[in-house]
């Protein structure tokens, strides 16, 4: 499962390694113990603790009540809103990113544009959280620069019912990090659509449409779907941006979990565990699908 857009390095295994491997298996494993211990204490155990908490009653006994409580409208709505924002921004971000990336590598576009786009995407994909929320308040907030500009042009978006602190506003903001992420993950695949295939298909008499229908899209599809899933997970985990932008306006599951932990919402700690557990299940499923799709997609990467 690759997170970043780099191809697998060719592994160079010196022959001698086999010997070492079988000589010292038990002693060698000691060298990675600190790493395993660290991850166990700071990631695995806290996560398991949370899972146990999700199935624990206030008095400590086993119960599934916390988890079934998630189906109550208030909690279910939080999940649904989160899924909705993540889904919308994944689809829009993926399509938008695909077109921009395809444009950057199309014939006649100078190479420096592609390089600039890559670097800028790297920055923008990392520019998220709290600063991003305020960047968009400066842009599309009630007194935002773009809002005022549109108003001067006779388009008063706030009078038309738009507000940044809504599902639409949050989605527009998320796309600021979804778009560059898509560009970064899809560029290598687009590079992999080899020019020779275009020529080969054309030589055999295929039209542009036939090329895309029978060669281009089938090759692109696993990669595109994998990116879509990655973008979904990316948006679903977001906490800081929705917190700063929509606290009190939109019921987002990450923000809700934060409020339960802080005691801003009256709910038992076990319910907080259950909410977090539900998130982990969704993200884990997302990443699992991503892994499968990515493996399929990698077959076509240029080696």
């Amino acid at each position: 499962m690759s997170v970043v857009t780099e191809q697998k390095a060719v592994s160079v295994k010196p022959r001698g390694q086999e010997k070492i491997r079988f000589r010292l298996p038990s002693a060698a494993i000691l060298g990675v113990l600190p790493f395993f211990a660290y991850v166990a204490i700071l990631l695995v155990v806290p996560t398991l603790y949370l899972v146990v908490g999700a199935f624990q009653s206030q008095s400590g006994g086993f119960t599934i009540q916390n988890v079934t409580e998630l189906l109550q409208s208030q909690y279910l709505n939080a999940y649904l809103t989160s899924v909705e924002v993540s889904g919308i921004t994944a689809v829009v971000g993926a399509l938008f990113g695909l077109f921009v990336a395809a444009a950057a590598i199309s014939e006649g576009i100078p190479r420096w544009i592609r390089q600039l786009l890559s670097t800028f995407s790297g920055v923008a994909a990392n520019f998220a959280g709290i600063p991003l929320a305020f960047a968009f308040i400066a842009t599309l907030g009630l007194n935002g620069v773009a809002t005022i500009l549109l108003k001067d042009m006779g388009l008063d978006i706030y009078k038309m019912g738009f507000t940044l602190f809504s599902l639409a506003g949050l989605s527009i903001t998320y796309i600021y990090f979804q778009l560059p992420l898509m560009i970064l993950v899809i560029l290598p695949t687009l590079d992999g659509l080899r020019k020779e295939w275009h020529e080969a298909a054309a030589n055999l008499g295929a039209s542009r449409l036939q090329f895309w229908l029978h060669i281009g899209l089938p090759i692109l599809m696993p990669s595109f779907l994998a990116s879509l899933v990655l973008l979904f997970g990316n948006a679903f985990s977001a906490y800081a941006t929705p917190y700063a932008l929509t606290s009190g306006y939109l019921n987002i599951v990450t923000v809700l979990i934060g409020s339960v932990l802080n005691g801003n919402v009256t709910a038992s700690p076990q319910l907080g565990d259950a909410l977090a557990f539900g998130m982990i299940v969704i993200v884990a499923a997302t990443m699992f699908v991503y892994g499968i799709l990515q493996r399929r997609a990698e077959r076509w990467l240029r080696r």
Binding site: V3, T5, E6, S11, V12, P14, I20, R21, A28, I29, G31, V32, F35, V39, L43, V44, V45, P46, T47, L50, F96, A102, A103, A104, S106, E107, I109, T119, F120, G122, V123, A125, N126, F127, A128, G129, I130, P131, A133, F134, A135, I137, A138, N143, V145, F177, L179, P180, G233, Y239, A240, T241, Y243, I257, G258, L261, A276, I280, A284, M287
Partner: protein, 259 residues
């Protein structure tokens, strides 16, 4: 001539990137109801709270870089040298932090470590957690760097000259993968300087927490801070790209999920 559709999409993408930045910049230079000026920057940069929280975030970043390097460099070296068959296992473990969203991990950490309350109020807990959050990126960076050098020959040469394991680690391997360590450090600094979830939920006043606090009363002040934050990210990513082009290995520079 490039095709028209390509130009249109590139312009649209460019606008999406640049308009919010332009707006943030304009917001940050606006003073009161009319006029432009740098008063917002002056008041921000002179604020004691800003300096305190910014320095605190920097300290956390340095702490995370040090702990992460101390843990990951020997681990990556050891795995590649002695037990390459567990590489896949470690690779899998290294992406696990992406499966547990930061807000969920914060809940788990807060509940689990509640038996040592002093730890939860000590900034050390943030450093400990940030090593986990940055693991998917630091591991990939270091592993790519390690595999690009001939660590086996280097090790054998050093051993034949009688160097101890620690000596090899510090004076042979580390200098050879310094570029990767540096690139991974830049990425860690970027993540830590922007990390809000853990810091706010565990009630620490870091730089992003300060931005949020300022934003509650002043959108202009927050825009100023957002722009400073953007400039930092920009510098770090440019640094990573520069290192990557110097050593010829593409360094991972994209983070997901840690926001």
């Amino acid at each position: 001539m490039p095709p028209l559709w390509a130009i249109i999409w590139l312009v649209l993408g460019g606008l999406y990137f640049l308009v919010p930045l332009y707006a943030t910049a304009q917001f940050s230079f606006e003073t009161g109801s009319h006029g432009l000026g740098t008063s917002s920057y002056l008041s921000v940069l002179q604020s004691q709270d800003f300096i305190h929280d910014f320095v605190f975030s920097l300290e956390l970043a340095v702490g995370t870089v040090l702990l992460s390097s101390a843990l990951m460099v020997p681990t990556v070296y050891w795995i590649n040298l002695h037990i390459p068959q567990v590489r896949r296992v470690v690779e899998f473990i290294s992406i696990l932090p992406l499966v547990v969203p930061p807000v969920a991990l914060a809940v788990g950490v807060a509940h689990f470590f509640s038996f040592v309350p002093t730890l939860l109020t000590n900034p050390i807990i943030l450093v400990l957690a940030y090593v986990i959050i940055t693991l998917p990126f630091s591991y990939r960076s270091l592993d790519a760097g390690m595999r690009a050098i001939n660590f086996k020959v280097l090790t054998e040469a050093a051993q034949s000259l009688g160097a101890s394991w620690w000596r090899i680690m510090l004076f042979v391997i580390l200098p050879n993968i310094a570029a990767s360590v540096l690139a991974s450090s830049f990425l860690i600094v970027t993540i830590v300087m922007g990390e809000y979830t853990f810091a706010s939920l565990l009630l620490f006043n870091t730089f992003p927490v300060y931005i949020e606090y300022v934003g509650q009363t002043s959108a202009h002040g927050a825009a100023t801070l957002a722009l400073i934050s953007f400039a930092l990210t920009w510098l770090a990513i440019l640094g990573i790209a520069w290192i990557g082009s110097r050593i010829g290995i593409k360094q991972p520079s994209t983070t997901i999920g840690a926001r």
